[in-house]
Amino acid sequence: MKLSTILATGITLSCLSVNALALTIGFAQVGSESGWRTSFSESVKAEAKKRGIDLKFSDAQQKQENQIKAVRSFIAQGVDAIIIAPVVETGWKPVLREAKRARIPVVIVDRNIQVGDDSLFVTRIASDFSEEGRKAAQWLMDTTQGNCKIVELQGTVGATAAIDRAQGFNDVIGKYPNANIVRSQTGEFTRTKGKEVMESILKAENGGKGVCALWAHNDEMALGGIQAIKEAGLKPGSDILVVSVDGVPDYFKAMADGDANATVELSPHLGGPAFDVIEKYLGGDKNIPKLISTTGDLFTQDTAAAEYQKRRLQ
């Protein structure tokens, strides 16, 4: 009696899900290591809800093996498409092959991957990280007339954002003979590490005297760095300029308070474009470029207060 009830319920449920015909999309997110990442996740979830997509969300806690497991489980569940925001660039080939064999299209968002075989994924939707680095460097060079001793807080070693932002930044300052990076260490994209590393860097650089700017690969590390600069008795924003990438609300507040100088916004609204591409692809249109690129604008202290009010309310 019980068994038949369970069976009946099961059949009804499966019928329902077939009847609904909603897209089921698996999303393997990095984690929620920063404010930006959280708004990215929230934006994707909201967009999915708006479109009636059944989103299977997986938080990998910054570990690739968790992401690979999540992707495998998406394949086992037979989702219609998979979105991956990869933690690191390498090691994706086997699992993407499995997805291809199961005929599940994969869209890469945010960071890059290296697989050698472009047919393993539909497209990659991302900000152009090196362009962000170039924008940040150009602003700094314009502000300091190319005379600057810079300390750098790198992102997680091996992450695309860290590699490309550093590349773009270095390309620009390479043209200015009086500008150079004197210290560079990883702050692992977090506020705690950013603060700890900045503390030590300031001590190694004679208490921060002569350092003209802090260039951080994301806002969280910059915010940690700002605290370290303050505790060292210097004034962030004037004694040491602070420039970074992301555009999280807290950083706009720091800019409005005069503690930070500039940030290149990294749009967290990657969900919409990703779902567009997937719907187009599943609709039969296979003619999709392999890289869809978005780059945000550079914001400075002038508009920071207004932007902070706008973003805080979101």
Partner: protein
């Protein structure tokens, strides 16, 4: 050596054989924290620390300069003390848990929960600082007691029982603040992380106070002895009348308490609670600190002071790497190599081998 007490007691002109036995027993009595080769136990961890500091001396002598500004001491050495505080606190709790033959993998997650609770209360309501701190500590102790209950009363393997909270705890921390990094403006609470008292950063004081109180509690009462007895042989100690379940419950509670303080330091330091990153992987650093301090993971003997030295070694290493200016990609490799060397130096077997190899070399030359 075994003849020594007897001859002594004869000199003391003991009347009855019963007294003689008593004095012999007193002589042979286990004196907590003062084992026969105490010097050997302290020698290697402390010399590893000194060696690391010497490396810095040769790299850049300004490493040792300490100045006084804004009412606090300022310098790399102070930074090391300050930055090692969370791991040192975790290591104090961890060494006691490890002494009972257990392990606590959840301390990093408990830090995140305590931090999230405090930040949530500071932002969400009008609570007094005292209430906020008490709430943070209570959460830590409760989390620890949950672990302790699972281990002692339900008999679950410590590594499994605490793994549950290690995984779930971060989820709880994120739930408390809806997955956001909550930042707060409270100078009073921030003092826990960035304040200074008598020139030293406040976290350092918290470590000293916790170390002192734990040392008094464990070494001036029989509790430390009970813990070591349970770690050596839980059933034997039960037959001796030690409440081994109670002891285990207590040590996990203590670890939770230490983790809560560490979590509040980390949260106050950046004036924000980050459920995902507060205390991430610090449980491993804490275990490493205990091991560097010379404790065996199989349980038994422990030393709180040596565990704190272990935490200092780890932090000195991290700071040295940052100061050295080496590319970031070498960080983990250097850390692992140095830890390996420290552990090898502590291994009797390795030292004996090394000695015989050296002797062999000398002999070969001669």
């Amino acid at each position: 050596m075994s003849q020594q007490p007897q001859s002594l007691s004869i000199v003391n002109k003991v009347d009855s054989p019963a007294d003689e036995a008593l004095i012999a027993a007193r002589k042979a009595r286990y004196s907590p924290g003062k084992s026969t080769n105490a010097l050997g136990r302290y020698l290697w961890p402390v010399s590893a620390l000194v060696l690391l500091l010497l490396v810095n001396l040769f790299m850049d002598a300004s490493f040792f300069s300490i100045s006084y500004q804004d009412g606090r001491l300022y310098g790399s050495l102070i930074d090391i003390l300050n930055r090692s505080a969370p791991v040192a606190l975790l290591a104090i709790g961890m060494s006691v848990v490890i002494a009972t033959g257990g392990i606590d993998l959840s301390v990093g997650a408990v830090m995140a929960i305590a931090g999230a609770v405090c930040a949530g209360m500071l932002v969400g309501g009008n609570y007094s600082l005292f209430t906020v701190i008490c709430a943070g500590l209570t959460v830590g102790i409760v989390a620890g007691l949950v672990n302790g209950g699972l281990v002692s009363f339900l008999g679950i393997q410590p590594i499994v029982a605490t793994l549950l909270l290690m995984v779930a705890g971060r989820g709880v921390a994120q739930l408390i603040n809806q997955g956001q990094i909550v930042t707060f403006q409270s100078d009073a609470f921030a003092f826990i992380g960035i304040g200074a008292f008598l020139g030293l950063p406040f976290p350092v004081w918290l470590v000293l106070i916790t170390l002192l109180l734990s040392q008094l509690l464990l070494r001036r009462t029989a509790l430390g002895l009970f813990i070591e007895a349970v770690g050596c042989n839980a059933s034997a100690s039960r037959y001796l009348g030690i409440n081994d379940k109670g002891v285990k419950l207590f040590v996990y509670g203590l670890t939770g308490f230490c983790a809560a303080i560490a979590g509040m330091i980390a949260t106050a330091d950046i004036q924000g609670a980050d459920g995902n990153n507060t205390g991430l992987w610090l449980e491993l650093d804490a275990i490493l600190a205990v091991v560097i301090g010379g404790a065996a993971l199989s349980g038994g003997r422990f030393s709180l002071v040596l565990s704190v030295v272990g935490a200092l070694i780890i932090q000195t290493l991290s700071t040295t790497i940052i100061l050295s200016g080496l590319p970031a990609k070498f960080n983990l490799l250097i850390k692992a190599s140095v830890v390996l060397i420290v552990l090898l130096l502590q291994s009797d077997v390795f030292r004996q081998h090394a000695q015989s190899v050296l002797k062999g070399l000398k002999g070969g030359k001669a």
